[in-house]
């Protein structure tokens, strides 16, 4: 699966309160959550992000609360992939479970800047900067995790596996 999009760059320790402030957690509606995505870090983000865009951040992305609303907000804002130097563990698992592609790659996270266009091959883990040419290699998801992402998350993946062939 190939993703091409514009980069939105954030720093280290982007916590789940920045991704989706708790004051909006009185709903589970994905589009409403998406409309407040990254609001306390960049108020304009939700209004300007385009389908296929890419979030790039430093270390420990998604630290803090266990709210699955965080990857749900990012995915439903149209973000196609998050690249970070490292991810907090609950966020990592939640992202896979709801079908949001994420890649851990410190080099790509350092090199890519806001506004760059990037191309990501989720099958191989290759990340290309199309604006300031450079190619970076992340460890790709193993095939079963790629299948979870392609199914749109763990529950859909389980349902597909359980349905009679």
């Amino acid at each position: 699966m190939i993703i091409t999009g514009r980069v939105w760059k954030f720093g280290n320790d982007v916590d789940t309160d920045l991704i989706i402030p708790a004051r909006y957690l009185n709903t589970s509606d994905p589009l409403e959550l998406a409309s407040h995505c990254m609001e306390d870090a960049d108020k304009s983000f939700a209004g300007r992000v385009q389908p296929g865009d890419i979030i790039v951040a430093g270390r420990n992305f998604g630290c803090g609360s266990s709210r699955e609303h965080a990857p749900v907000a990012i995915k439903n804002a149209g973000v196609a992939c998050v690249i970070a130097g490292s991810f907090a563990r609950i966020f990592y698992r939640n992202a896979v479970n709801i079908g949001l592609p994420i890649l851990e790659c410190g080099e790509a996270a350092a090199a890519l800047q806001s506004g760059d266009r990037a191309e990501i091959d989720l099958t191989t883990g290759s990340v290309k900067n199309l604006t300031n040419p450079g190619t970076y290699q992340a460890a790709p998801f193993p095939p079963f995790m790629q299948q979870i992402i392609e199914a749109g998350g763990l529950i859909n993946y389980v349902k597909q596996k359980l349905e009679p062939q």
Binding site: D13, D15, D17, L18, P21, A22, R23, L25, N26, T27, S28, E39, D40, A41, R59, N60, C63, G64, S65, S66, R67, E68, H69, P71, V72, S86, A88, R89, I90, R93, N94, N97, I98, G153, L154, I155, N156, V158, K159
Partner: protein, 422 residues
Amino acid sequence: MGMTITEKILADHTDRDRVAPGELVNCRLDLVLANDITAPLAIQEFRKLGLKKVFDPERVVLVMDHFTPNKDIKSAEQCLTVREFAREFGIVNYFDVGAMGIEHCLLPEQGLVLPGDCMIGADSHTCTYGALGAFATGVGSTDLAAGMALGECWFKVPESMKFVFHGELQPWVGGKDLILYTIGQIGVEGARYRAMEFTGEAIGALSVEGRLTMCNMAVEAGAKNGIVPPDEKTHAYVAARARRPYQAFASDPEAAYIVVHEYEAGQIEPQVAFPHLPENSRPVSEAAGIAIDQVVIGSCTNGRIEDLRIAAGILEGRKASKKLRLIVIPGTQEIYLQAMREGLLETFVEAGAAVSTPTCGPCLGGHMGILAHGEKALATTNRNFVGRMGHPESEVYLAGPAVAAASAITGCITHPEEVAKQ
């Protein structure tokens, strides 16, 4: 080779004799937990599976604590979703307004989580229960839905870090100060994916409440779980509450740790974590004089009876500064009642505090004490991220109940000794 307590509990919940760090294991769960924010999403996913029952209606715990008593129509709808699910699926441990407390104060108090348990909660502070010698970790709503369905969850066995606190604690220093100090030493991702095991004389001297406070914030260092091997205090605490048998585990002397940190407890001052990360902890003396607009005493970190006793001990016969709002939130109904019987609530109200029914409320900027732009709060809560307690331009300082109570009196961040000696 020996095993750590974390490894032993995980192995005990598989069909294996031993597990090693890095291995992926599928574990039986003793308990699964969700709240009024995470349960609605978990229920939505669970319903997609089309199941007629949860794996065990006695081992699913649902606590309505974050936006309760409901602050608005949307949060009321969220609770309604969970309430209806609880009725439909016969969830025994469903806690609504009047019975509920802040989940991580409530579950240990009610004897729902016990030493040696393996459990997940759709709340990052589920790691609190490590203080009883359980393996407990936070997950998202989808993992919780699978847990409700199967009573199982897969884990990567974490490497264990050992934290040894030698010696005796200084006066006014408690579990909160030790954990803020520790996070200050290792950073907010210093324990990412790992187990934090707390030992040493100073941990032995802490009450179970103080240990719950420490393990509560393990996630603020990125840890999968925090854990304190059970001792006599643990068993005394649990014996009065447990309604099922349990098996306690201890780390082997030859167990392997990725790193061992040793600290002299006597050298640790009361701590204050500056905005906007819990790792920004400094001795309270370096924070002295910072003016604050609100003090919050409560939360799953410091809303237990011991915390309220410490705060009331300082506030007794004194008044909170008129420059700030003081909000005190007992963690559970039982704590509320106990605080009432001991006269603590009277002390708080006499001091000018607003005393609330149990709720997570202000900790996550939900309700019951939201900050305006430019305001500063000192709170006994666990996170001081941007916008955590309200406006994105407000600030939160974290501390224990002694510093919080002393600061409430003076109006600025203050060492408890300064107030006590007056």
